[in-house]
C-alpha cells in the first residue's frame, strides 16, 4: 500500500513516451513536445493557486519560453493535426499561460508607487475640464441654496436634512449657533465618529462617480443638491453674523472633503463626457479609457476622504480657534493643489 503522504505529493511527470511507437506523424510531433506542455501546466497550476513563492526561480524564468513553445506548438498543430482533444488541450493551455504571462503583474506596492509617484496627479490634471465644470456646479449649488433660503425659510428645512438641523434652525440665537461650532472637551468617541464619517462620505463619493455613467447628469445633480445644503447653512450662520466662524469650522476638513467630492463628481462626469463625445474612438473604447483614468482618481478620492474624516472628527473638535481652523484648512487645500498641479513628472517615469 502506498504511504498516505504519497497522495499529497505532486505527481511526477511520467517517463518519456516511446515516440517511434506512434504511427501518425502528427502524434509523433505531439509526443516530442508534450513534456514541455506538461511542465508548463505544472507551473501554471502553482501560479494560479497563488503560491508564487513555491515556484522555483528557474521555472519562472522559463515560463515565457515555455509559453512560446506551447503557442508555436498550437500554431503548427492547427495546420498539421486533426487530433481534436490535443488541439483543445493546447488551446486551453496557451490561454491559461497567456493569462499568467500577460496577467495583472503589478504588485500592490508597485501600483502604489506609480500611483503616488505621479499617476494620480497626472490623472487629476487630465480631468481639468471636468473639474472646472464640477466646480462651477458646486459654486452655483451653494448660491442657489443661499438664495432660496434667504427668500423663504421653508427652503432651509427642505434643503438641510432634519437630523442635521438639531439646534441650527432659522431664528436660532447667535449663542446657540456659536455653540454648535465649538469643539468638545473629551476625545472619547471621536475615532468612531471619524470612521463613520469616512464610510459614509466614501459611499457618497463612489455614488457620485458611478452615476457619471449616465452621461454625467446625475453626478451633477448630486453635487448640486449637496452644495445647496451647504449654501443654506451658510445663509443661516451669516444671518447671525458668524460667516467667518462657520467658514473656519467647515474649512478645517471641508477643503479636503469638498475637494474629494469635487474630484469624484469630475471623474463621473469624465466618463459621461467621453461616452457622449468619443471623438475618433468607438464609444466602448472611449468609455474604457476614461473609466480607467477615472478609477485612478477615485482610488485617490477614497484616500482623501480618510484624511478628511480624521480632520473632521479630531482636528475640528479639538481645535476651536477660528484662526487656527482656517490655517489648517488653508494649508490642506494648498497641499492638495500643489500635489495635483505643481508636482509633475515626465510621462516616461510613470509607466504602466
Amino acid at each position: 500500500m502506498k504511504p498516505i503522504t504519497a497522495l499529497f505529493r505532486s505527481k511526477p511527470i511520467e517517463e518519456l513516451p516511446d515516440i517511434e511507437a506512434a504511427a501518425l506523424r502528427s502524434d509523433r510531433f505531439r509526443l516530442e513536445r508534450e513534456q514541455d506542455w506538461k511542465r508548463l501546466e505544472a507551473i501554471l497550476k502553482r501560479m494560479e493557486s497563488g503560491r508564487l513563492r513555491k515556484v522555483p526561480d528557474e521555472d519562472l524564468l522559463e515560463l515565457p519560453a515555455l509559453y512560446r513553445t506551447a503557442a508555436s506548438s498550437l500554431a503548427i498543430a492547427r495546420e498539421t493535426s486533426l487530433d481534436a482533444a490535443t488541439l483543445a488541450y493546447l488551446e486551453s493551455l496557451v490561454q491559461r499561460a497567456w493569462f499568467q504571462v500577460y496577467g495583472p503583474r503589478s504588485s500592490l506596492i508597485g501600483w502604489l508607487r506609480r500611483f503616488f509617484g505621479g499617476g494620480w496627479s497626472a490623472s487629476v490634471r487630465e480631468l481639468w475640464l471636468e473639474i472646472c465644470i464640477a466646480l462651477a456646479v458646486m459654486v452655483a449649488g451653494t448660491i442657489v441654496g443661499w438664495v432660496l433660503s434667504a427668500r423663504d425659510e421653508a427652503w432651509y428645512y427642505a434643503l438641510v436634512p432634519t437630523d442635521f438641523a438639531d439646534s441650527r434652525v432659522p431664528g436660532a440665537s447667535r449663542e446657540v449657533l456659536d455653540k454648535s461650532l465649538s469643539g468638545v472637551e473629551k476625545i472619547d468617541g471621536l475615532s468612531f465618529f471619524s470612521a463613520f464619517l469616512f464610510s459614509n462620505n466614501a459611499k457618497v463619493a463612489i455614488l457620485a462617480f458611478a452615476l457619471g455613467f449616465a452621461f454625467g447628469i446625475p453626478s451633477l445633480m448630486l453635487l448640486m443638491q449637496n452644495l445647496a445644503t451647504l449654501g443654506a447653512m451658510l445663509w443661516l450662520f451669516s444671518q447671525a453674523g458668524l460667516t467667518l466662524d462657520f467658514a473656519a469650522w467647515l474649512s478645517i476638513h471641508g477643503t479636503t472633503e469638498l475637494f474629494a467630492i469635487l474630484l469624484a463628481g469630475a471623474a463621473g462626469l469624465h466618463i459621461g463626457r467621453s461616452m457622449a463625445f468619443p471623438g475618433n474612438r468607438t464609444v466602448v473604447a472611449a468609455a474604457a479609457e476614461s473609466g480607467q483614468r477615472a478609477a485612478q482618481v477615485m482610488a485617490g478620492v477614497v484616500l482623501m476622504l480618510v484624511v478628511a474624516a480624521l480632520l473632521e472628527s479630531f482636528a475640528r473638535q479639538l481645535v476651536t480657534d477660528t484662526g487656527m481652523r482656517l490655517a489648517i484648512g488653508g494649508t490642506m487645500l494648498a497641499l492638495w493643489l500643489a500635489y495635483f498641479f505643481a508636482f509633475r513628472r515626465s510621462p516616461g517615469d510613470i509607466g504602466e
Partner: protein
C-alpha cells in the same frame, strides 16, 4: 443532416483574441447564468463573513460589558465600520487582482475577468469595474428592500433607472455589465482540459488487430468518404470507449464503405480506420487541401 451543420455553427459566445505573438486564441464569453450564480455565491460568502465578523465583535463587546472600558468598545466600533467598508469594496478588488483574476464565486463557476483588448488586466481596470457595482447591485437591492411596497411614480421611475444597470448585460452581445464597459474588461470562461492519450500508439493503429490478428487496410476510395468532422466524431467515440456506440459506429462505417461487418473486433477495426483516415486527411492538409466533412 442540416442539424449536424447547425451544431457546428460557431457559437455565439465565441470570440477570438489575438495574442502579441500573432496567435489567435479562441475565448468563450461567460454565460449570463454563470455570472449570476457566481455573483450569488460571492454575495453569500460576503454575507457569511460579514455576519461572522459582526457576531465576533458583538461577542467581544458583551464580554467587555460593564467593565467601563469605553476606549476598547470604541476601538471595536471603528474596526467594525472599517471591516464592513472593506468587505463591501475590497472583496472583489482583492480577488480579481489575484493570479486567477476571479473571486471565489467566479472560480467555482469556472469564469474569470480579462481585458477586452487582449492586453494586461490593469489595477485601474479592476478598480473601475468594481466601483460601478455599487449602483448595479447594492443600490437596487437596498432600494428594493427599503421601498418595495410603496409604489408611486417617483419610486417606479427610480426603479426603472436602476433596472437599466441591473439589466445592462442583456443589452449587449458580450454580456458586459456597466462596470465592464467602463473598465474595458469582460468575463470569459476558463477551460480546463486534460491532455488525453495519443491515438496512434497501439498496434491496431498500424492496421493489425491484436485479438484476431486480422489486417485492416483501407483503400483510397474507402477513405475518401469521410472528412474532418466525421474523423473527430470517431475520435470522440473511441475516447469514450462505450461498447454499444463502438458497435453502432463500426456497423455504420462498414455499410458506408461497403465492407461486411464482422463482430467482436470493432475497436481494433475503428482504431485502424481512424488512424488511416487521419493519416490521409493530415497528408492532404499539409498540401493545403482540407475536407471539412463528408459533404465537401
Amino acid at each position: 443532416m442540416s442539424r449536424a451543420r447547425a451544431l457546428r455553427r460557431p457559437d455565439r459566445r465565441k470570440r477570438v483574441l489575438v495574442t502579441p505573438e500573432g496567435l489567435s486564441l479562441p475565448l468563450t464569453i461567460a454565460s449570463r447564468g454563470a455570472r449570476a450564480s457566481a455573483l450569488m455565491l460571492d454575495l453569500i460568502i460576503m454575507g457569511v463573513i460579514q455576519i461572522a465578523v459582526t457576531l465576533a465583535l458583538l461577542g467581544i463587546v458583551i464580554g467587555l460589558f460593564g467593565e467601563g472600558q469605553s476606549a476598547a468598545m470604541e476601538f471595536l466600533g471603528v474596526v467594525w465600520i472599517i471591516a464592513m467598508f472593506l468587505f463591501r469594496y475590497g472583496y472583489f478588488l482583492y480577488f480579481e487582482l489575484g493570479p486567477r483574476g476571479a473571486t471565489p464565486g467566479k472560480r467555482l463557476t469556472g469564469i474569470r475577468v480579462a481585458a477586452r483588448d487582449g492586453g494586461r488586466l490593469s489595477v485601474n481596470a479592476v478598480i473601475a469595474r468594481n466601483l460601478l457595482r455599487d449602483i448595479e447591485i447594492f443600490l437596487p437591492l437596498i432600494f428594493l428592500m427599503s421601498s418595495a411596497g410603496q409604489g408611486g411614480a417617483a419610486n417606479w421611475a427610480s426603479f426603472a433607472w436602476l433596472a437599466i444597470f441591473l439589466l445592462f448585460p442583456f443589452f449587449n452581445r458580450d454580456a458586459m455589465r456597466a462596470g465592464d464597459l467602463i473598465a474595458g474588461t469582460w468575463v470569459v470562461e476558463v477551460p480546463r482540459r486534460k491532455l488525453e492519450q495519443a491515438m496512434s500508439l497501439g498496434e491496431a493503429a498500424r492496421g493489425r488487430s491484436v485479438a484476431t490478428g486480422a489486417q485492416y487496410r483501407f483503400g483510397e476510395a474507402e477513405l475518401s468518404v469521410y472528412g474532418e468532422y466525421e474523423l473527430q466524431t470517431l475520435e470522440r467515440v473511441l475516447r469514450e470507449n462505450n461498447p454499444e456506440a463502438l458497435v453502432a459506429v463500426a456497423t455504420a462505417i462498414c455499410n458506408k464503405i461497403g465492407w461486411s461487418a464482422g463482430s467482436g473486433d470493432e475497436r481494433a477495426f475503428l482504431e485502424a480506420f481512424y488512424a488511416q483516415l487521419r493519416a490521409r486527411l493530415e497528408r492532404d492538409m499539409r498540401f493545403g487541401k482540407r475536407k471539412a466533412d463528408k459533404f465537401s
